[in-house]
Chain length 434, copies 2
């Protein structure tokens, strides 16, 4: 490993806010970023060395990206795994995470099966094609059910609750295409863990506590055999509490307001997820902390019902940095974006330790009609000590579009409800011009 | 103040590492950066929206920069104040700091006179044109003297020590052009303060302790009248200890290992410097903490010899973020680069509080001949928890060229000598390929 100029260059499929924050984090490391995105002057463009304008699955665009890159990654699940595999071979450029991992994750049914088979606790689920399938699942799993599009959904799009057998047909129509159902999890809290898989070159690193190896060995859980694979260093950022409304992330709180045993179990599940997936990078692992009503029931992992084990269920995975981890920019010694750059370019993973209690809130579009984006009220954010504005540079705003976020850092031992109220107040002072 | 997309755009004269770190800091705030620099693909280029290729004093280049910008600033003293004034008027773009401040600072003799007249403690100095002038100054101020080029010097270039009358002629030849001499300050320690002047719009802010107003009123120092001027909010980052060798900054330590009274006095002098200068932005204020031998002598500020007052002497000022403040990126809640962007674009100043004890070291060229830059050994920096590499992306390396820096963050209460040794060890492991 050496550092020279220019580059190394990291090619990123997708140039939204995640690409933008990757580019911000890559620069100090001497890694240059080029993005591919269909929207001219995408959010990442002003801070990236260059943007290739083209669709995520446009062979010409992705070939052009690969030709400029020493490493490839993606910041959006709409990237095409087959295309990534073919350009990786053609241009002899490594892609991380592995395109096969993207293939697994982009189909929620395949994702859930893979994770279940790897021993990760997931809500009970069924593949469904017909109204009868949905009703049969309802008889078995109970109502409400969550009907999910297998592909293409994000930020809650493609998720439709089914309250009774009568709603099955309408819900299937609303989702359209291939679908699955999951039992409705009556969770007490949502959690997220940014888990990271580094290069095998650095497998000797042992800088974090609570590594999976020891825990897996000591709690008697038999791991399915996975055959030979790259075993690089792994780590996870501190467990984050996530707060959603209309299935869109609104705020995060770190440390999560959950018991230490719950946080430890969440970390363990996140590291188990890494074991089930190939390739390096940061993975956003969204979890449910199940409510008390669940603690007696069983779930599809098929394990004995240890209390702590049953409390955490996997919700979804993203094979990339995730909205739930934006707080790490100010809140941890290494941000999730720097960590992803380190991992995919083969550098050692950074220190995931938390620097201070930290909350964040998304800035979402509050207007009904699509319009030019002009934000008012951000002066209060700039004036607030330890508040940090992150603006994504999107030219247009529409309802619930993610336009930016605000992070607020507290003193050690700060009162988290107070921090959360404070950041909400800052956010509520922000409005887009109507 | 509103935030819209695209821009606002900040035009920066100079595209070196300071421009690069300005661009890194501007992006989250939604401020886009364009730089002007004569070197194609300058260090700032990969993270800036655009680079105008042209000399710092090339009217066409600076006009092109101004035409794209909503605000103008500079990251190098080679910017041309007359040209900045004329393009500011032509394109109706504000320039900060005020070009007149640049004019004052770029001539070290004018700088010292202005500061002395404003009551800032400076070493005794004399203008010199001839060998006889130098010898006369030597008779008066004693040897060694420091002979300095009035303009164009940086990183110690243009500074020549004069040990005896015999060396006067040779030293004048070596400096060439207009010169001045200063008494040699037998300092105990060098300190630096990044002082910041914000917009008058935000003058009500009162977030930092130790504001100058109260101190100036209470210590009986009569301030020269300065007439009406913009009085925006001011603040200063925590006092930094700086360690030079061959007159080039090697390491910084924060908090500085000096008594609290000395640090308070350093902060006070830095804020007095702001009072003597026009325009918004971050100013790097380099100071001497005089050794004991000096405490009885007088200096040109003409004040009575209060001990604490006499201990701090101004060395030099930079009208921009400064190498001594790079540690603020990880070490403070706001970095000096974000602070400069906030100040020049009229946003409220950020929180200058320190997050943790922090040291930094420059990565300097260690090769004799100019050559392509390839760094070896950076893996150890990536592996070290809480160490942060900042690579400037310069294509070529030569002896003592600033190629990057490493910051190391400590725990609260960390042992600073240990931190300093640790960061030196990391740096000593870095080499350029010969």
């Amino acid at each position: 490993m050496t550092l020279s100029t220019p580059g190394p260059t990291l090619g990123v499929v997708g140039g939204g806010q995640l690409g933008r924050m990757l580019a911000e984090a890559a620069a100090p490391l001497g890694v240059e970023v080029v993005v591919a995105d269909p929207t001219p002057d995408a959010p990442a463009a002003p801070v990236a060395r260059d943007q290739v304008v083209g669709d995520f699955d446009d062979p010409d665009a992705i070939r052009e990206l690969a030709a400029q890159s020493d490493y490839l990654t993606f910041e959006i699940e709409l990237a095409d795994p087959d295309l990534l595999e073919s350009v990786a071979e053609e241009f002899d450029v490594p892609v991380h995470p592995d395109p096969d991992t993207l293939r697994t994750i982009e189909d929620k049914l395949v994702q859930k099966r893979r994770l279940r088979d790897a021993g990760v606790p997931v809500p009970r689920f069924r593949a469904v094609d017909t109204v009868d399938d949905v009703r049969a699942a309802g008889d078995e799993l109970g109502y409400p059910l969550m009907l999910k599009a297998r592909t293409g959904g994000y930020d809650g799009r493609g998720n439709v609750p089914v309250e009774s057998p009568d709603e099955a047909a309408g819900a299937l129509d609303a989702v359209g295409g291939d679908a699955m159902v999951e039992e409705f999890v009556d969770y007490e809290r949502e959690l997220a863990v940014m888990a990271c898989q580094g290069s095998a070159e650095h497998r000797s690193a042992d800088r974090s506590s609570g590594r999976r190896g020891g825990e897996a060995a000591s709690n008697g859980t038999a791991k399915p055999s996975r055959g030979p694979r790259e075993e690089g260093e792994t780590d996870a950022f501190p467990v984050t509490e996530t707060i959603h409304r209309e299935e869109i992330l609104r705020e995060t709180v770190s440390p999560a307001r959950a018991d230490e045993t719950v946080r430890e179990r969440a970390r363990e599940v996140a590291l188990d997820v890494l074991d089930a997936l190939e390739g390096r990078g940061v993975f956003g692992v969204e979890l449910f902390q199940a409510g008390e009503s669940r603690s007696d029931s069983t779930h599809s992992s098929g394990r004995g019902s240890q209390d702590a084990d049953d409390e955490i269920l996997l919700n979804e995975i993203a094979p990339r940095p995730h909205n739930s981890g934006h707080w790490t920019i100010e809140g941890c010694h290494t941000s999730q974006f720097e960590q992803h750059v380190r991992a995919v370019t083969g550098r050692p993973l950074g220190d995931t330790g938390r620097r201070a209690p930290t909350v964040s809130t998304n800035i979402l579009g509050d207007v009904e009609a699509r319009q030019d984006a002009t934000l008012r009220g951000e002066k209060a954010v700039f004036e607030r000590p330890r508040a940090h504005l992150h603006w994504y540079g999107k030219r247009e705003v529409y309802r619930l579009r993610k336009m930016g976020h605000v992070t607020l850092v507290g003193e050690e031992g700060a009162d988290r409800p107070y921090l959360l109220d404070s950041v909400r107040e800052l956010r509520d002072g922000l409005t887009f011009e109507g």
